[in-house]
Symmetry: C2
Subunit: 343 residues, 2 copies
């Protein structure tokens, strides 16, 4: 298949730091190319890929301009103009302008658009307009269930590159939390759960945006104690080391997050996940096998006491089967073939 993968323009692919969508797109472009497809990746300059690379923007925009619609439109127009009618399928992750142009391609070529964000009043209205013009893909059953009013071409879970996550069966006595400093992610609950479980907590946090900084300083920081170690902007190797040694990940998610890649990362390292049953957490974690799904601090503390019952090998296997780059590439390969066939 001749495939165009359009990344967002904001970071090089793969990202060196923040950039979950870019990470997924990088694995997908490489994985599809490795399987012999003719793949062109449209991504900002500095990207590395085993696909052909076309960079509408020579450099990613200044991070202060993340989301700026002029860059969004520049990247999308340039990508689609290069694509023309000369591809079997376009896979668009790029943003609003990309989906708008894609919706007007009238199926020539067909456009597959992965929904990376949550459902809001505005996105429901917009995708309700274009759902017959582009092939929408949900990244979880939870995301799909949260909006039954649009048509989906399918669900393909995000995947990670397992080789980047060292498996470790023997655990040290601490818990790990990874997430933005935002009440949606429940960092204060994680601190309370660790304290009551009597275990140290490693917190890997992102708190560089104004709201995140304010929430951290005013709400989270006063709850810190000697048993909490905070990490910011650490390398992938440091993160993987912490993940593989932790007894469990605490993921007290407070909103219906459409995926949650860090749960897959933890399980890949053989580390069970104690999560609240919101959003895609119920799909990622197999309750009682690769972690626990519990609401409220009491039940989360109980679950932490039981994580010894979860087999590290079962955690790893769950990711291999459902949330690996290979599984994701296979999922999109089948979906593209179906879309092209139907044409």
């Amino acid at each position: 298949m001749k495939i165009a993968e359009i990344a967002p323009p904001w970071f090089a692919v793969p990202p060196t730091g923040y950039g979950g969508i870019e990470l997924v797109v990088a694995l997908l472009a490489d994985g599809l190319a490795d399987r012999g497809h003719d793949v062109t990746l449209f991504a900002s300059g500095g990207s590395q890929t085993r696909a052909k690379l076309v960079s509408p923007l020579l450099d990613p925009p200044d991070p202060a301009l993340l989301g700026n619609p002029w860059f969004d439109a520049y990247h999308a127009v340039s990508s689609y103009r290069t694509i023309g009618h000369d591809f079997d399928v376009v896979h668009d992750h790029s943003g609003i302008a990309g989906s708008a142009i894609g919706a007007l391609q009238r199926g020539n070529p067909p456009v597959v658009h992965t929904l990376h964000g949550p459902w809001t009043e505005l996105t429901r209205r917009y995708y309700g307009l274009i759902h017959d013009d582009v092939h929408l893909v949900a990244i979880s059953e939870a995301q799909r269930a949260d909006n039954p009013d649009v048509n989906y071409a399918g669900v393909v879970h995000n995947g990670i590159h397992l080789d980047d996550y060292p498996f470790r069966a023997e655990k040290d006595d601490f818990l790990i939390y990874i997430g933005r400093a935002n009440p949606d992610k429940g960092p204060t609950i994680a601190i309370e759960v660790a304290r009551r479980a009597g275990l140290p907590l490693a917190m890997v946090v992102k708190k560089n945006e104004p709201f995140e900084r304010a929430y951290w300083d005013e709400i989270v920081a006063p709850l810190l104690n000697d048993e909490v170690e905070v990490y910011e902007a650490i390398s992938h190797e440091q993160k993987a080391d912490l993940l593989s040694r932790a007894r469990a990940m605490v993921f007290p998610i407070q909103w219906p997050e459409p995926f949650g890649l860090v749960m897959a990362e933890a399980m890949a390292c053989g580390t069970p996940v104690v999560a609240c049953p919101a959003g895609a957490a119920v799909e990622l974690v197999e309750n009682g096998v690769t972690g626990y799904l519990r609401d409220g601090v009491d039940d989360l503390v109980d679950a932490v006491a039981s994580v010894g019952n979860c087999s590290p090998a079962a955690c790893r296997e769950r990711v291999e089967e459902h949330f690996s780059a290979e599984a994701m590439v296979t999922g999109y390969e089948r979906l593209f073939a179906k879309v092209i066939d139907r044409r």
Copy 2:
């Protein structure tokens, strides 16, 4: 000609209050329809037009969401999907998504895109990408000259409906300023010029956005005196009455504004304009005939003393000839014919 006019989605057309672009689009759709063209206007619900009306959004968005890219994309996708290939020409005023989709229409139908905003680093880059795919129209020679690096299909000045502006040759002893509370518009200079000219000043201001309010409260308000009367959110009739009675408009513009409709409104009422020579002011005002172009408070005060030399009739004639709805409709009619011919 079968013409699609795409308005922005933010206000009904014509606007009842703020909305300069919507006012121009309203006159254009009506004017083209009156000349026998088959015109469809794509504008939010509640719009009034003598063209056919199609409203992708049943109501304009909440004003707090002005510029929101999801609405921008919804309106543009819906408009272009309805347009299909079934029009001779599309005239797009709608925003970023509209121009992005327009750029990918590959001339079927051709898309004319009027540049309503100023040149910035981001708009230069973006329009530099699409200038061969859409037919760009500048609203002044000044705007065109400010960016010689893109191709233009032409320049068409904005126009006003002259019947809405009462001509009055006898003037009262006061000056008028109309503009947002923003240093770009020079309200503090206007106050100083009026004070030194020994004339009262009527200020019609917009100051509802946070920056405008802060600038007004902190910088402008302390300069007010008994000779300054401030008006906010007045009716068109009140504004036209003030404009027609004023001895002159003071327009001490401090940035290269691409047009400046209030100068045309003043002259239509027979009121000369004393402006700084920036942006389109040098095209709107005929120096020494319909007002004066002067820099600095001293020279602006001198100019106010000389406005008696400017004939109210000459002011009105200048608008009739160059900045009337009729002149604008003729300008676009010719430009559309040229674009369709070339195809």
